[in-house]
């Protein structure tokens, strides 16, 4: 039981984080909070990928000076690190687009609460 928990507790915590993000998207009515919940989901997925790249006893995937070729067991998998590095920066940029849209919505409808915005749209 302890071995099972030690091997999978990270995945379960990440699943909880993902569900917190889902709950935020579904249950909140403020559009800014929905955007924040989307970012929480993004963080959960980033953590999931990084978790897949770990190895017991593996260090950062950078060769120390003087070492010419790495041993597979001694370094963490560099591929998830690479993919998530770009995903973080792209996430910030797309959040910027979302904030710009929110600012436009606030300017036009005077509120970011979803019921108010929907009511104004039907007028």
């Amino acid at each position: 039981m302890l071995a099972l928990t030690a091997g999978y507790i990270n995945f379960w915590l990440i699943a909880i984080l993902l569900l917190v993000g889902f709950y935020g998207i579904i249950a909140t009515e403020n559009l800014l909070k929905k955007l924040m919940a989307l970012n929480v989901i993004s963080v959960a997925i980033i953590l999931f990928y990084l978790n897949l790249g770990q190895k017991a006893g593996g260090t950062v995937p950078i060769l120390p000076p003087g070492v010419e070729a790495g041993v597979t067991e001694a370094y963490a998998n560099p591929l998830p690190h690479t993919l998530m590095l770009t995903a973080i920066v792209v996430g910030v940029a797309t959040t910027g687009v979302g904030l710009a849209m929110l600012r436009k919505i606030y300017k036009r409808y005077g509120s970011l609460e979803e019921p108010v915005v929907l009511k104004e749209m039907r007028k």
Partner: protein, 93 residues
Amino acid sequence: MKKVTFFFLMLMAVLFIFVSLDLAPTDDVNSPAATHVSPRYIEEAHEETGAANMVTAVLADYRGYDTLGETTVIFTAGIACLLILDVRQKQKW
């Protein structure tokens, strides 16, 4: 409504825990993610690309096309912001 949402999220949590048992455990040296392409990256990246930092080697050399796409996405996001917020409406052109 919030109770229904909460119920479905609990259902998803149970499903996630059930499905996660099929994944390789954390720190597994023989997991699928660690045995297909990553040995090539770790063992030959420095020899082939001249970068001791394997993340840089994968980012800019092995998967340079991917990174070109990411850079284009970031640039497009900036231009989209410009188009959303910086439009002058009463200009002739």
